[in-house]
């Protein structure tokens, strides 16, 4: 493990000092029939109920969006929250972990005590995440001319050179990465919230139509309407709260490759931002990938999950294809990934639902079809057949690997308290 040049003060001061105490979401739907403002208050209410907190307990708010959402002041006003701090930032994937880090920082600075982070989006019925509709019709100016004038706009189109070059450099195959969709669809079939609950085979993926080589339709994530919320506060305060303690060991926010103005200028282009982020994540966490029980590697596409697991050291560089097709990432495997079904199946949230899922996993109380006992807790069977359990047994440490694009990523290690 290489120690980075980052001043790793986190282990000394903040490792396990902060916790996620509440998580919540709306339904994952196409056609929410709700404003993003209404979706946001719905998700935050659910997270408050989950945490056992009231509006008066929240005094900080963070959100992220790309001109497709509501802002904190409206949502806080609606819910009767008086803010000591708020910030609404521009961004999509990789923002979740970054904003959790910011929340820790502002609480540490004494600016507020408890922060609600939300992402609210009608990613199917309003501003479509795939880039069709309003985004693709917008006028093209300045730096965008170098990309959009060439029909190089959607995430799949922008990332394809990285995916293809990885196939070229390392012999990775579509069949290998199709295992990501197979695994995540298996997980989603045991998730009552998931938008797509159908289990898919490798052949289903490979036989679906090509969108942009090397991506088939089923290599691509779903577009849905939803809001999600995560509540962060000091672990000390969290100990008296409703839910089992889930602590943050380490966080990396929007770590970048060189030349992030156009990252392809600095290769290898089959290398992604995790190459740099891992040297912050693991030393600050004080654990390595071999100790992690489950992962949340961002699945905008099957390839992104594979690339990040490889780059963060869950396997050797170039062996991501073998890793994701080995069964390790499936429920019942040694280190399941995206046990909710993630972006490929549960719903698209720009990263939030993968953190929410791992919080529930670490609490040992993930929502599946297992019976609920008299104590209100699920009696998990660990039988992962269709319509069954999706709780990972004795989950203690999780890693989330957030993705914005090949050149930018975020990450977080969480631990059961």
């Amino acid at each position: 493990m290489t120690q980075s040049d980052v001043d790793a003060t986190t282990p000394k001061y903040l490792r396990n000092k902060y916790a996620i105490v509440g998580v919540g979401e709306t339904t994952y739907r196409r056609g929410s029939q709700e404003s993003t403002r209404n979706l946001a208050t719905w998700a935050i209410n659910n997270a408050l109920d989950d945490a056992g907190l009231e509006a008066a307990d929240i005094d900080g708010m963070l959100s992220y969006s790309g001109n497709d959402s509501t802002m904190s002041p409206f949502v806080a006003g609606d819910l009767g929250i008086r803010l000591n701090f708020y910030m609404d930032v521009h961004g999509g994937g990789s923002s979740t972990e970054a904003l959790i880090g910011i929340a820790m920082g502002v609480i540490e600075a004494g600016m507020c005590k408890t922060v609600a982070i939300f992402r609210s989006m009608n990613g199917y019925t309003q501003v479509r995440i795939g880039g069709t509709g309003a985004r693709s019709a917008a006028p093209i100016t300045g730096d965008q001319v170098h990309m959009r004038a060439y029909g190089w706009q959607s995430a799949g189109q922008m990332f394809a050179p990285t995916f293809l070059r990885h196939m070229y450099d390392y012999g990775t195959t579509s069949e290998q990465v199709a295992h990501v969709k197979m695994a995540h669809s298996k997980h989603a079939s045991n998730n009552p919230k998931a938008f797509y609950k159908t289990r898919y085979t490798i052949e289903d993926v490979l036989n679906s139509r090509i969108i942009c080589k090397p991506l088939h339709l089923l290599d691509c994530c779903v577009e849905t309407d939803n809001a999600t919320c995560i509540i962060v506060t000091r672990a000390e305060r969290a100990k008296d709260m409703k839910q089992p303690l889930v602590q943050i060991r380490s966080v990396v926010g929007r770590c970048c490759k060189p030349r992030i103005d156009m990252h392809y200028q600095h290769g290898p282009i089959s290398t992604v931002a995790g190459y740099y982020a891992k040297d912050i994540l693991w030393p600050n966490a004080g654990v390595g990938p071999e100790e992690i029980d489950l992962t949340g590697s961002y699945d905008a596409f099957t390839f992104t999950t594979m690339l990040q697991l490889e780059e963060y050291g869950f396997c050797k560089k170039g062996e991501g294809g073998q890793y994701v097709s080995s069964g390790i990432i499936e429920l019942g495997g040694a280190r399941p990934n995206n046990t909710s079904g993630g972006h490929l199946c549960e719903g698209y949230t720009h990263g939030m639902n993968m953190v929410i899922e791992n919080v529930r996993q670490l609490r040992g109380n993930v929502d599946d079809s297992c019976p609920v006992g008299a104590d209100g807790k699920r009696q998990h069977t660990y039988n992962y057949s269709e319509g069954g359990c999706r709780q990972v047994k004795d989950a203690e440490l999780s890693a989330n690997l957030g993705w914005a694009m090949p050149g930018t990523g975020s990450a977080m290690v969480m631990q059961r308290g």
Binding site: R148, A149, G151, A160, R165, R209, K213, M262
Partner: protein, 172 residues
């Protein structure tokens, strides 16, 4: 200001965007120019406001030979933008220029974006696309947007020695 309709898309470069303005104006003259940092002597793409290696804000526009090798690509079969629906499948090429390849460090290159076009500037037909992949030698051509405004693109370099089998995604 540069402005024009290209495939039905409105493209605009504002006057204050001096770097992009000059870049596309040179393209309209059939002259591919990049900024060369005064301190570093290094070329950069796309246009930037300072030198990524020295943060130097001084530079000269230098003519660069538009020849190179396909480093990777995207091949779009389902268009997102309405402008491209009638052109699928189309290729977006990421081309390593011969100039400054592997400099200033091993994995760096001037990787210039463009669509694969025929020599006379039309979107490449499917049979041509099937011959192009990683390793293909290409040369630059320009496509006019409006008076004084053109975009750089790529076409197969007919005079260059081509690899026997450029690497392509295996499923056609």
């Amino acid at each position: 200001m540069l402005q024009g309709e290209y495939l039905g898309m409105r493209l605009t470069i504002e006057d204050v965007d001096k770097e992009n303005l000059a870049f596309f104006q040179y393209c309209a003259q059939g002259d591919f120019r990049l900024q060369k940092g005064k301190k570093s002597g290094l070329l950069r793409y796309p246009p930037t406001t300072a030198c990524p290696w020295t943060r130097d804000r001084e530079y000269d526009w230098v003519s660069v030979e538009g020849k190179g090798t396909v480093h990777s690509y995207a091949e779009v079969h389902h268009a997102i933008q309405p402008a491209f629906r009638e052109h699928v499948p189309y290729m977006i090429l990421l081309v390593d220029l011969d100039t400054q390849k592997g400099q200033p460090s091993e994995h760096e290159a001037l990787r210039v974006v463009g669509n694969l076009l025929t020599a006379d500037g039309k979107f490449a037909p499917p049979e041509m696309i099937k011959t192009v992949g990683i390793g293909t030698r290409v040369r630059m051509i320009f496509k006019q947007v409006s008076e004084g405004f053109a975009l750089p693109h790529w076409t197969i370099d007919e005079t260059a020695a081509q690899p026997a089998t450029p690497w392509r995604y295996p499923q056609e």
